[in-house]
Amino acid sequence: MKSYIKRGVIFLAASLVVFCVLFVLIQTDVINAYYSQILMVICINIILALSTNLIINYTGQLTLGHSAFMAIGAYASAFIQMNTGLPFFLSLLCGSVVAAVFGFLIGLPTLRLKGDYLAITTLGFCQIVVVAIQNIDALGGAQGLAGIPPKTTFAWVFFSMIATIAILYNIVHANQGRAMISVREDEIAAEAMGIDTTRYKIMSFTTGAFFAGYAGGLYAFLMMFIDPNSFNFLKSIDFVIYVVLGGTGGFVGCIASTSILTLLPEVLRFLGDLRMVIYPLLLIVIMILRVKNIRVTSFLRRKSGAAKPKERGEDHAAA
């Protein structure tokens, strides 16, 4: 317990320092408006990647429809806020709860399927959500929903990300997380050890949907405009790429890969037309390097052993 509190305090202190540095840099215009916007998108993407990570890496369920929950969260929170004038945070929460309810309802029948079958059904669900939103006039239809008040600030995004990391970390390193990991490792053995695998799959899926919905809300209030097509399955594939590049399970790897892959297309803008040739090429190179065990995670771990409170391994023994 003591070591947990110690790690928690270190983590909080470190994130406060990072926040202060970034905040000052933004205030003094060292990081200009364009890059601070990218920074916020990175934070939102990290929330999304971590929630996908919980489902794909920890529970071993391949979902290709995560952006649907993001869309549901984005539309629900924006719609609620614009129509009722609910406080920002409450409308974000409402959006995430709506997404979580959808996650639960979709998970109930589909999580009986395995591997590629689950991937295809979630893909289908994603497509249904996009088409459904396109046909609801109250949500702006295919033209998108405009006029969302700009309420997302850097502080909101950053601390939401920190809270997401902390909550998901706590879930993964508890009984529930162990049960989820056992589902990934061997479903039959997990059943034989008394674990209700369906229950934990749904728990993981619903939690993932909740955070995706929350991130969707942040995204909506950041962009001030959302359209259904920006949430199609290609967006889900992005999250899968972040997670796959991040390696099996690690939080640090996932955060690093998300940051790099969100930043990379922006950094490559100077290449002009060649950008979308170079970016995929880089992606391929990174993936090949990753397979050869030069993982982002192990790279980071080697560099800073004690400074990373968010690593797997020693924590089970200590908690």
């Binding site: 706590n170 990991i181 061997d186 053995a189 034989a192 050890m193 209700d196």
Partner: protein, 257 residues
């Protein structure tokens, strides 16, 4: 009242009757062996006992409760635990975490107390930690607790799998070919282990095994299956000389000779 009472269970897969009219009855702390040629239906019996298959007809009563047709994870909660013919450990998890997974269903703190790390989380995690360490200690796996399960030698993996099954605190332990792939020395150690578990944990054990030395050496009662039917049942000495058993294993002429 017996601990386990199986009455005439039959299972059919389409037109194939895999097991028919199988009945046995076990008391607490009994040690039974289930043998038979390949494809006789031994593992199918285990799968019915552990809820993987529901029997087409018949009754399974365990500890005074009818248990046929309920889910595998519910069976474990009714105190029946098993190991697998082909070892099914959580390969990428540490030895310690493999054991902890078995305690998962016995922990009763909610998702909320995990997220906010409420006192119930620390209390129960500490208890699980302690129980797991104790179990690893008596199984001689304590030094290996941070090792990945897939890095253990074969014999140790079997040991860990049995330890993991015991962590669910069963009253009946089902061992599916525990000696498969073991050398004579490892088999001898396993025999000692099985007898020791029975004494120490005071549980009933039902095991499937092809290694006759092990079966004859530890079981007090042996059930012989052939083509899904029980052809003989009794203490090892009786089974050794039973004509039907020799016939099933070696063919008719050998039995006559």
């Amino acid at each position: 009242m017996p601990l386990l009472d199986i009455e005439n269970i039959t299972i059919k897969f389409g037109g194939l009757t895999a097991v028919s009219d199988f009945s046995i009855s076990m008391e607490e702390n009994d040690l039974f062996g289930l043998i038979g040629p390949n494809g006789a239906g031994k593992t199918t019996v285990f799968n019915m006992l552990t809820g993987v298959y529901a029997p087409t007809s018949g009754k399974i009563v365990f500890n005074g409760e009818s248990i046929q047709g309920i889910q595998p994870h519910q069976i474990t909660k009714k105190k029946i635990s098993r190991t697998f013919q082909n070892i099914r450990l959580m390969k990428n998890l540490s030895v310690m975490d493999n054991i902890k997974v078995s305690y998962a269903y016995q922990a009763h703190y909610s998702l909320v107390s995990s997220i906010f790390r409420l006192p119930s989380y620390f209390r129960q995690e500490e208890e699980i930690e302690k129980k797991s360490l104790d179990l690893l200690k008596i199984f001689g796996l304590l030094e290996l607790k941070n090792e990945k399960a897939c890095n253990l030698p074969y014999g140790q993996q079997r040991r860990l799998e049995i330890a993991r099954a015991l962590a669910t605190q069963p009253k009946l332990l089902l061992l599916d070919e525990p000696a498969a792939g073991m050398n004579p020395q490892e088999t001898q150690n396993l025999m000692d282990l099985i007898q020791w578990i029975r004494r120490e944990f005071k549980i009933a054990i039902l095991l499937i095994e092809h290694d006759m030395k092990l079966v004859m050496g530890v079981c007090e009662n042996i059930v012989v299956l052939d083509y899904g039917k029980i052809i003989a049942q009794g203490p090892p000495d009786e089974i050794k000389t039973n004509k039907k058993v020799i016939e099933a294993y070696l063919g008719e002429e050998a039995a006559d000779a």
